[in-house]
Each structure stands twice: as structure tokens, then as C-alpha cells.
């Protein structure tokens, strides 16, 4: 038997999501952080570790009135918060701090901020941006036609990713988009970057989220149902130039991160009850399913199109509706974590009955980075 060592004891999103023009970007961080502290009965004085991305952790610490002994501003893109869970667990396990607050806030829609959380790359600027792919829809999508030709992924399968996730979103009162859609709706939507239409691209939202982590032995001191980390997760990166991705049909960062998380947790794929794969665009769940090893290479699109990941399917995936239907502030990884925690608490509006193990996997940048964690409702295994 292995006993859990790290627990998530606080988890909350901003009070409102979608359009939140009344809050600044730092205000979104604070709203989520205060909600998370309130649910587990903590105040800023109880927090001695802080992590965030897109802002310097010092800015958020000062704003919230926190004096940390451990801080992490690692920003590798939207999955940074998943990586922070892993880093925070290591910090708590080695005694660098006791109680970590991870915050995210992003005014993606209302743009109430002094700067966008950008991840500039000199080589990307010199050798890619000059050809005009200035926005994620025309960069992140670049490998996909290659994957369609080499692996047989079809446009209809890509459209089904959006269709299935909308089914999940319809069960979530807080999701932005609820109305059912069809493959035809997706394929006939406004073209953004061939072959991607608007319904294959993420929403643009305001929102935030926060997590509070501590040692598992302290978990019973809190009023919330603890969610435990199983193993130490995984992370990797391939780099910000999507044109230099080693293999356009598979993400090296996904493979390395996923393998580390599964090995550290000591689990096999059949143990997984619930799965979150960061979906800024419709192809990411396909790459994720394959690169994490849930299906063989080339089978991800068919697996989704056949209904395996929809409500009632054998591998519930992106049960909040994902970045395509729930919300997407820009750095969506925090919302994937929040749904993983809700599922392990048994409190998701789209609850998977009896789910005890959730894998949360995220992408950073445009296939630039990756992070993976395994969450469980069990304190030993």
C-alpha cells in the first residue's frame, strides 16, 4: 500500500465566468483565490507558497497580501497550472513550504489588463511570425493536414470532438455554450484557418481559478473533501516553433509528460475513470488520446467519433465541455484541473458515477509544452 502524500484541499473558479467586465485580470486571480481560501477556511496569512503563470508570482502575492517562502512563476503556456501542481507537490514534500496557492486569472475577452500573457520566442519571431501566422488558430493547427494524410484522421472526426464536448457542456450550468451541435454545424461554421472552422476553435472568455495544496496528513483539518495526487505527474517541452515539431502526427512533449505521470502513479490506462485533455482546438484530444497511450496511433479520431468519450461512453473526456464549449480564457489548464477535482469530489454537474481516478493533461503554447497529473479520491492505493 502507498499512502497519498499531497492533497488538494481548496479548488474554486471565479464567481462569474465568460464575460466579466467588472474585474481586471489581477482581480480575476484574486476572486478565484479568495473563493478557494474561503471554501477551506484559510486566509492569505495561512499561505506560504504561491504559484502562477502569465504574471510574476510576486505581483499576485503582493496583491493578495501573501508572504511566501516558496514561489513559482513558471509560464510554459496554458498548462502551466498543471505543472505548478507537480512543482508544488515537490516543494511541500521537501519542506520548502506547507500550503500552496496556485492562481489563474485571465481577462481574455474583456481585455482588462496591461499586457497579454505572451511567451515570446526570438527564433519564432525571426523564422515563423514573418510568414503571418500571428494567432493560435493559424499556428496550432499547422500539423493537422499532415496528420490527416498520414494517420487517416478525417474532418468529420475532428468535428465530432466539438459535437461530443457540447454534449458534456449541456450538463454544466456554468458552461458558455449549451446548445447541441451537429457535424454539419461544425463543418459549415465560419472558416478560421482551413481546415478549422470556428466551432473547432476554443472560446474566448474571462475567468480564473485557484487551487490550494498541502500535505495529505493535514487534509483532514479542512472542511472540503480532499483530492489526492497519485504519483508526481509529468512535464516536458518541445519548443515554441510549431514548424520544428519533430513529428507532425504526435507530440513529443505529450508522450514524455504522459509516460512520466503514468509511471509515477503506477497506473495503467484501464485504471482511468475520467480524463481531461486541454482542447484549445479540436485536434488536441486526438493527439492526447494517442500520445498518452489510451489508443494506438491513428485511432484517436475514430475513438471519439464512435462515442467512447461522450456521456455514457467508456472513457469520459473533457466532461465540462472543454475549451471548445465550457470556457477558454487563454490559459485553460486551470479549468481542466478544476473539473478533475470536481469529479474526484463527486460534485461535477456532469459527474461520472463512481469515478476514483482522473488524469489531467495539458498543452502549453502551440505544442510547445505539456504537463500531466493524476488525481484520485483515494488516500491510499
Amino acid at each position: 500500500m502507498t499512502k497519498a502524500s499531497i492533497a488538494i484541499v481548496g479548488a474554486a473558479e471565479t464567481t462569474r465566468m465568460g464575460k466579466v467586465p467588472e474585474l481586471s485580470q489581477t482581480g480575476l486571480h484574486a476572486d478565484a483565490a479568495l473563493n478557494a481560501m474561503a471554501e477551506c477556511g484559510l486566509t492569505p496569512a495561512d499561505i506560504d507558497g504561491i504559484a502562477t503563470a502569465g504574471h510574476d508570482s510576486a505581483e499576485i502575492a503582493q496583491y493578495l497580501g501573501i508572504t511566501p517562502t516558496w514561489q513559482d512563476s513558471t509560464s510554459i503556456g496554458g498548462c502551466s497550472f498543471i505543472l505548478h501542481v507537480r512543482h508544488a507537490a515537490a516543494a511541500i514534500a521537501t519542506g520548502l513550504c506547507k500550503t500552496v496557492l496556485i492562481t489563474h486569472g485571465e481577462s481574455g475577452r474583456s481585455n482588462n489588463r496591461a499586457h497579454r500573457p505572451l511567451f515570446p520566442s526570438m527564433q519564432q519571431q525571426e523564422f515563423e511570425a514573418i510568414y503571418g501566422p500571428l494567432f493560435p488558430p493559424s499556428r496550432f493547427t499547422l500539423p493537422v493536414l499532415r496528420k490527416m494524410k498520414d494517420d487517416g484522421l478525417t474532418l468529420e472526426q475532428l468535428a465530432m470532438v466539438a459535437v461530443v464536448q457540447r454534449e458534456w457542456a449541456s450538463r454544466h450550468p456554468r458552461a458558455t455554450a449549451h446548445d447541441p451541435i451537429t457535424v454539419d454545424d461544425v463543418l459549415s461554421a465560419k472558416m478560421i484557418a482551413w481546415p478549422f472552422t470556428k466551432l473547432m476553435c476554443c472560446l474566448v472568455s474571462d475567468g480564473g481559478g485557484a487551487l490550494i495544496l498541502t500535505s495529505a496528513e493535514r487534509a483532514q483539518d479542512f472542511p472540503t473533501k480532499p483530492v489526492y495526487l497519485r504519483g508526481m505527474g509529468g512535464e516536458s517541452c518541445e519548443g515554441p516553433m510549431v514548424s520544428q515539431m519533430e513529428d507532425f502526427t504526435s507530440s513529443k512533449a505529450f508522450r514524455v509528460s504522459g509516460k512520466a505521470a503514468f509511471e509515477s502513479a503506477g497506473i495503467s490506462h484501464s485504471d482511468v475513470d475520467h480524463l481531461m485533455i486541454y482542447d484549445a482546438f479540436a485536434h488536441l484530444p486526438v493527439y492526447g488520446l494517442e500520445d498518452l497511450g489510451f489508443v494506438a496511433k491513428g485511432e484517436g479520431g475514430a475513438f471519439i467519433a464512435e462515442g467512447n468519450t461522450r456521456p455514457g461512453g467508456r472513457l469520459p473526456l473533457n466532461t465540462n465541455g472543454g475549451g471548445l464549449s465550457y470556457m477558454h480564457s487563454g490559459m485553460y489548464g486551470m479549468y481542466a484541473l478544476q473539473e478533475g477535482v470536481r469529479q474526484m469530489r463527486g460534485l461535477s454537474p456532469a459527474q461520472v458515477e463512481g469515478a476514483k481516478l482522473s488524469v489531467v493533461h495539458g498543452v502549453g503554447g502551440m505544442f510547445s509544452g505539456a504537463a500531466t497529473v493524476v488525481l484520485t479520491s483515494e488516500d491510499q492505493w
Binding site: 503571418g132 501566422p133 500571428l134 493536414l145 494524410k149 482551413w194
Partner: protein, 137 residues
Amino acid sequence: MSDRMQPTIYSETQFYWDGAKEGKLLLNACTACDGGAYFPPRPFCPKCGSRDVTVQEASGKGTLHSYVISHMPAPGYEPPFTVAVVMLEEGVKMMSNILDCPANPEALELDMALEVTFEARGDLMIPQFRPATGGAA
């Protein structure tokens, strides 16, 4: 055209842009390992870490590895326009637009043969690709 983005050039990449002005697509290549050519330029081999690298002229031939047709705005570009990744004959990938070719999927077949050309942009020449004309090798 003139309001298209200009690259910021550094001392390590100056040779590449100087070469383009002379109508040459120049690549770094490693002489210490069998890593061969690599991209983008840097004064060491990303495969073995050696500083024993050289500059070679690419054949200018490549194939269409993948692409999107972007309907998003970009300074100096009129959407829709093609953003592509070209697989060079030397085995390295680089981004490009596809010139002299309509931006529609019927005209853009994966693995079609391409050849280098150069786009005048300010004082610079930007390496670009277009469908191969089938001329002499």
C-alpha cells in the same frame, strides 16, 4: 507588402539573411556528427552540441509538408493566405507562404513539389516557396 513583419536579425543568423539577398537559401550543417543540415540557424549542432558547424547552400527543392489557409489578419497579408511548412530536400522543415498558387485546398496537395523563391521585403529578401516549375535540377 512593405508593412509585413520584418525579422529581427542577430549576429548568429546574419549569414542566412545575407545569403537570401544573393538568392541563396543557406543552412547550417554539422561536421562533427552525421546530423547534417539543421534549421533554424545557430552556431552549434542541436543534435550533438558540437560547435564544428558549416554553412551550405540548400538545393532549394522541397515538398509541402503541411499547411493552413489562414483567414486571420496579419499586417501586409490579405486573407485568406497560405501558411505552410516545407520539408526541404536536406531533411529540415521551415515555414513559408506558398507563392504563385491560389490559397485553396484544391491547389495545395500535400507532398507536392516546391521550389525556393525570394520575396522582397524592405531591404531584405525573405525565403519563400512556390510550386516547382519542373525546370532543370
